[in-house]
């Protein structure tokens, strides 16, 4: 389904947060949430993003939809760098780029009912100016995500975690966007509803050529939905490849560790786990070397000082690890 048309190009994206120093006059410290992330997202594909918790996935998503201004780097959409667009200039982009937030509770206005929240984007962009039709569309969307007429008039705090997440999904879908950044959109859903939502995602992709950037910790979900998968670690992309490449032929030591930690599919399955021991690196302060160096079983002296670049080692399979660089070099 995906074609070779790059719909969103992320070029060397960096995002730093300034942490407030101690006390009134403390020196602020820098937290590197994203360091030199470069990604191309193709039209109509699903790009799965997997990574350690806190590695900057949400930050990446927020940069894409314009909630964070990147410290440096570009985000190219429709031929223009949208990372610096502001105000009215950004408005047309908003409609195309949507996000499902990780924190489903706080991303809903506590004083808006579910219906109002879902309706809101349509009102803003003047989709469906007829109120009755709009209401109908709201209801349709809600039904798509497994909610029903009974949930229309309730406030966020009256929902369960999963229901709130579904409201978020419905809201993002209501705009007919081109790209949706899904930040763990199904983590709070039971498997049957999860299946329903995933099917919905796929159907919309089929029908409308939607593009997803799909952040999740559930590797089977990512595998199921993604065309390509990127593995992130500490603000960097470590490996990126078509989905089967990651699952069948993981290259990066971190990817391997991840795959080994997947929970079993049945009570009787027990597989050996590859544990990453050692000091967990911190995104705060100066960054040198490969971030995994301290925990990687294959680390060499070089890994501690030099940063491996993301290199294509196999067809469409790129990895940032010296283990393979040498092979490529040869």
């Amino acid at each position: 389904m995906a074609n070779d048309n790059v719909i969103l190009g992320i070029k060397n994206l960096n995002k730093e947060f300034r942490l407030r120093g101690d006390g009134l006059f403390g020196k602020p410290q820098t937290l590197h949430a994203l360091s030199g992330v470069s990604l191309d997202v193709y039209e109509g594909e699903t790009l799965g993003i997997i990574g350690e918790s806190g590695c900057g996935k949400s930050t990446l998503g927020r940069c894409i939809v314009g909630l964070h201004e990147p410290t440096s780097g570009e985000i190219i959409y429709n031929g223009q760098d949208i990372s610096k667009l502001k105000g009215a200039a950004r408005k047309p982009v908003h409609k195309d780029l949507q996000m499902i937030f990780q924190d489903s509770y706080s991303s809903l206005d506590p004083r808006f009912t579910a219906a109002a929240s879902i309706e809101e984007p349509m009102v803003i962009h003047g989709i469906e100016p007829d109120a009755a039709k709009r209401q109908q569309k709201v209801l349709d969307l809600m039904k798509e995500v497994g909610l029903d007429i009974q949930h229309l008039q309730r406030y966020p705090h009256e929902f369960s975690g999963g229901q709130r997440q579904r409201i978020n999904v419905a809201r993002a879908l209501s705009l007919d966007p081109k790209i949706i950044v899904c930040d763990e959109p199904v983590s709070a859903l039971d498997v049957s509803i999860q299946a329903q939502v995933l099917n919905l995602f796929r159907r919309l992709q089929r029908e409308r050529g939607l593009t997803y950037i799909f952040i999740s910790h559930d590797l089977s979900v990512v595998k199921h939905i993604s065309d390509r998968v990127a593995i992130m670690y500490l603000g960097r992309v470590m490996e990126i490849s078509p989905a089967h490449g990651i699952y069948e032929n993981p290259l990066h030591p971190y990817t391997k560790a991840l795959l080994s930690a997947i929970p079993p599919e049945n009570p009787f399955e027990r597989h050996p786990e590859m544990k990453l021991e050692g000091e967990i690196p911190s995104p705060v302060g100066k960054q040198v070397g490969c971030p995994l160096a301290g925990r990687c079983p294959n680390a060499t002296e070089r890994c501690h000082h030099e940063r491996p670049a993301l290199m294509e080692v196999e067809d469409n399979h790129r990895v940032a690890c010296f283990l393979y660089h040498d092979k490529v070099a040869e």
Binding site: D22, Q102, S160, L189, A195, R203, H217, S220, E273
Partner: protein
């Protein structure tokens, strides 16, 4: 037909021995009184949990899992009320406990990991401060020692640079980090009973594995009982001793984990198991789902709640609430057509 009838038969096994179980919940009912009617969010939930054991609750999103756990802790919003049933913790009646008695239990004997980690931390205090407060409250440590212990706990849940992270505010943490902070807090006071409401949704699998083994370790050393609410069946298989399946406020199936996997009885359970995406799946086909939506909780209580989505539903299902019946030792199910007299064959809808 109504509850009276069902009560007689259900969970008779559980009520016999007292206090041998860590937690005993019997026919718990928690209702929300909203403007447009009474929502029966929890409407007949029964289970028991032994020391050192893990009970997993799975079920439809919105089926009342979190409300059940909130009810155990008496942490319902103003509109919510426990309307019936009993909850015994360590032989103590919790439903009628006073606020002071509950406070004794909360945090010390029972701790809870909330589903929404980012909203469950006080936004205006540093996470370190919140952890230290918690540790000092329960362990009576001095400030320095508590701080040390907090850092230790953060290290245990793999938070990088924990000394520095102690000074972060919740909004500066990623979702997974908040969740780990919550977990660290819940574990820091050696509880007898942990309620973990989707504790690892925001964690990557390596950290998840670590956290789960941490929970296991705690369980082994302290004989802690764990009530694990999750949607991740993989975790259930990994962690649980027993599993309870919930649907629309009611227990619909309750069995030892392996039994449930091997021999699920309730049609909803079947649907659930079938919907799970598998890593081993090769083809990218649509996932199986359970069509339809669950009923409005304000209108339930007169029939089997799953009736409208159940391919096996019969006339009785439409008119009677199915009681929870022990069909095999330890295996309870609430289905008119699975109560021993009749048994369905999975996949053969009528």
């Amino acid at each position: 037909m109504s509850e009276n009838n069902s009560q007689a038969t259900e969970t008779s096994a559980a009520t016999e021995q007292v206090s041998e179980h860590l937690v005993e919940v019997h026919d718990l009912k928690t209702y929300f009184h909203t403007a447009a009617g009474v929502a029966k969010a929890v409407d007949g939930v029964s289970f028991t949990l032994d020391r050192g054991k893990t009970l997993a609750i799975v079920g439809e999103s919105g089926s009342g899992k979190s409300v059940t756990s909130s009810s155990l802790m008496h942490l319902l919003p103003k509109t919510g009320k426990i309307e019936g049933g009993s909850v015994m913790f360590d032989g103590k009646d919790i439903v009628h406990a006073t606020e002071a008695e509950l406070r004794e239990l909360r945090g010390k004997d029972i701790s809870m990991i909330f589903q929404d980690p980012m909203t469950a931390l006080d936004p205006v205090f540093k996470v370190g401060t919140q952890m230290i407060e918690n540790i000092r409250l329960h362990d009576g440590l001095d400030k320095e020692a508590a701080r040390k212990r907090a850092i230790e706990m953060l290290k245990l849940v793999s938070i990088p640079n924990p000394e520095k992270r102690m000074d972060s505010y919740p909004y500066e943490l990623s979702g997974g980090m908040c969740q780990r902070v919550m977990i660290a807090m819940a574990m820091s006071c050696h509880p007898k009973f942990i309620i973990a409401d989707e504790p690892t949704t925001a964690l990557d699998v390596t950290v998840q594995a670590q956290v789960l083994s941490l929970l296991k370790g705690l369980q082994d050393t302290l004989n802690t009982g764990i009530l694990l609410i999750t949607h991740n069946l993989g975790i259930v298989w990994q962690m649980a001793d027993d599993v309870m399946v919930m649907y629309a406020g009611r227990t619909c199936e309750y069995a030892p984990m392996e039994e449930l996997y091997a021999n699920p009885l309730h049609p909803y359970t079947w649907g659930l198991l079938d919907s799970m995406p598998k890593l081993s799946d090769k083809a990218k086909t649509d996932l199986k789902t359970i069509p339809g939506v669950p009923p409005d909780l304000r209108l339930t209580g007169t029939c089997c709640n799953f009736y409208n989505r159940c391919p096996y539903a019969c006339e009785k299902c439409k008119n009677e609430v199915p009681p929870l019946v022990e069909v095999k030792p330890g295996h309870f199910v609430a289905c008119h057509r699975q109560n021993g007299e009749e048994s369905l064959v999975r996949g053969e809808a009528n």
